[in-house]
């Protein structure tokens, strides 16, 4: 899939995020939008998956360790064909299978329930170990927030993955620089992130989280890396794609009102138009 097609898919994913969070009147748009290009690349290009067979034991796995950005994952799964896109409007509502945080028992395509920060990565490490123990060659990907890595359990998991040389594991850190209480540097800086993962015996790659060439190259490098797990530090913009949400900590966990929703959708429609023009 070429970059233009990926960008178009990513923009549809972003629209789904905004629609879902607006409908729910709650949720986490900022970190969903910052990771939208990563989600899109994973589900449209990288992962060996089949939406018609979401429980295939040989499929690649994805664990959303930063589970609060479920709107991003759900929008991607819906757009990829796991469930109807109109269901995104039921997000967080009573009776909907689209729970506030990922629920593997209810949602097709969700490989692990998550939401309590720091725990998803451990489960991903367990899956990668499971592949090694059973001689299977599927790969395991997990996405963490840069605030999330303040959780100590992340480093327990990293230590184990490095120790066990789990080269089928790819950890992605969505490095948008913001957490609920402010900038990660102001709250309790986890920097330098790269040196920390290196110290835990990871291969580390820096990438622009909104550049598909760079994302493609990073995942290829991760796949070719032997004997150590890989950590991709994805430098992103929180709220990417929606003008008034970009780089703003206020949109970490807040839904747009009707007026803001209209502005956000207009922003994304404009991107659609630009992408259509670019393709002509």
């Amino acid at each position: 899939m070429n970059n233009l097609e990926l960008a178009k898919h990513a923009n549809q994913v972003r629209k789904g995020i905004i629609k879902g969070v607006h409908s729910a009147k709650a949720g986490h748009p900022g970190g969903s939008l910052s990771a939208a290009d990563i989600y899109t690349f994973l589900y449209f290009e990288e992962l060996n998956i089949d939406p018609k067979n979401p429980k295939d034991p040989d499929r690649d796995r994805f664990v959303l360790s930063k589970g609060h950005t479920a709107p991003g994952l759900y929008s991607t799964l819906a757009h990829r064909g796991y469930f109807p896109e109109e269901d995104l409007l039921t997000l967080r509502k009573l009776g909907s299978y689209l729970q506030g945080h990922p629920d593997m028992k209810k949602i097709p395509g969700v490989d692990m329930s998550s939401g309590s920060l720091g725990q998803g990565i451990s489960a991903a490490v367990g899956m990668a170990l499971g592949a090694k123990l059973s001689g299977k060659d599927f790969r395991v990907y997990t996405l963490l927030g840069d605030g999330e890595i303040e959780e100590g359990q992340v480093w327990e998991a990293a230590m184990f993955a490095g120790h066990r040389k789990l080269d089928n594991l790819c950890v992605i850190v969505d490095n948008n620089g913001l957490q609920i209480d402010g900038s990660i540097d102001d709250v309790c800086s986890p920097n330098p992130i790269d040196k920390k993962f290196e110290a835990f015996n990871f291969h580390v790659i820096h990438v622009d989280a909104h550049d598909f060439d760079a994302i493609r190259a990073a995942f290829n490098e991760a796949k070719q890396t032997r004997g150590v797990p890989t950590a991709i530090i994805a430098h992103s913009t929180k709220g990417k794609g929606v003008s008034f949400m970009e780089g703003s900590v206020d949109w970490h966990g807040k839904a747009p009102n009707d007026e803001e929703f209209a502005t956000a959708m207009a922003d994304l429609e404009k991107i659609d138009e630009q992408l259509e023009k670019a393709g002509e």
Partner: protein, 315 residues
Amino acid sequence: MADAVKKIATRESYGRALVELGAEHQDVVVLDADLAAATKTGMFKKAYPDRHIDCGIAESNMIGIAAGLATTGFVPFASSFAMFAAGRAFEQVRNTVGYPHLNVKIGATHAGITVGEDGASHQCNEDIALMRTIPGMVVMCPSDDVEAVACVKAAYEHQGPVYMRFGRFAVPVINDRPDYHFEIGKGDVVKEGKDLTIVATGLCVASALEAAEMLKADGVDAEVINICTIKPLDEDLIIASAKKTGKVVTVEEHSVIGGLGSAVCDALCEKAPTPVCKLGMQDKFGESGSAQALMEKYKLDGKGVYESIKEYLGK
């Protein structure tokens, strides 16, 4: 108990049962957090080194790894002391194992005050209370070697999360009889009686039997029920006995808040209101000492249980 009675710590039974399971089932993997010698998973490690995963001193991560392994078709037995498996990693067990109802078995050794000399920091008297609040979690506390081995094997056969509680202290083998049958969720009347029902779990079943013998000399005919599965509780058995005797005493090496006593009260208050005297740790931390001395001090040995019941009946 006479010296002739065979005594085995249930952590030994856990280690032995894992080795037997490992021989029968290739999908059994055992996780530990740098306590393989103490939890007795070292026996499994020796037999099946490739299927023993030492996670280092990181129990929270161990539980997550067990969850991940379960999703790839393995049946992980995650092992540590009760304090760390149920206490430190409570939220991991709740959110990453319990919520997705994954097929993870937790083998928690060194439960209760009979950890002994290590003292209160390591004497977990809260694990039953914590684990039984998690929806879908099976909670078991075997009374002896025979029951512990049966419980581990039943845990393997059960689909879903299971918490098993084992001890460090060697306890009398009381279930070694030809007609012994184990089933998750089924209690066992180990002595019939009509005047009083003693419901006990774990090593306190032996204490309850001793106490019942002493009560007999006083003319009190006590029924003794062994509850290995605290959740799901064999409510029918307890209710029937309570209706027959009209008096219930619970005995456990655990806090009287949230453990077996609370579970029994929960069942009775709704379906057969009966006065219940809860014996166990009375909202106190333990302390250092030999297991036997602690059992005596906190009145969880046969004599202590007998005295507490006499006092209760005298009121």
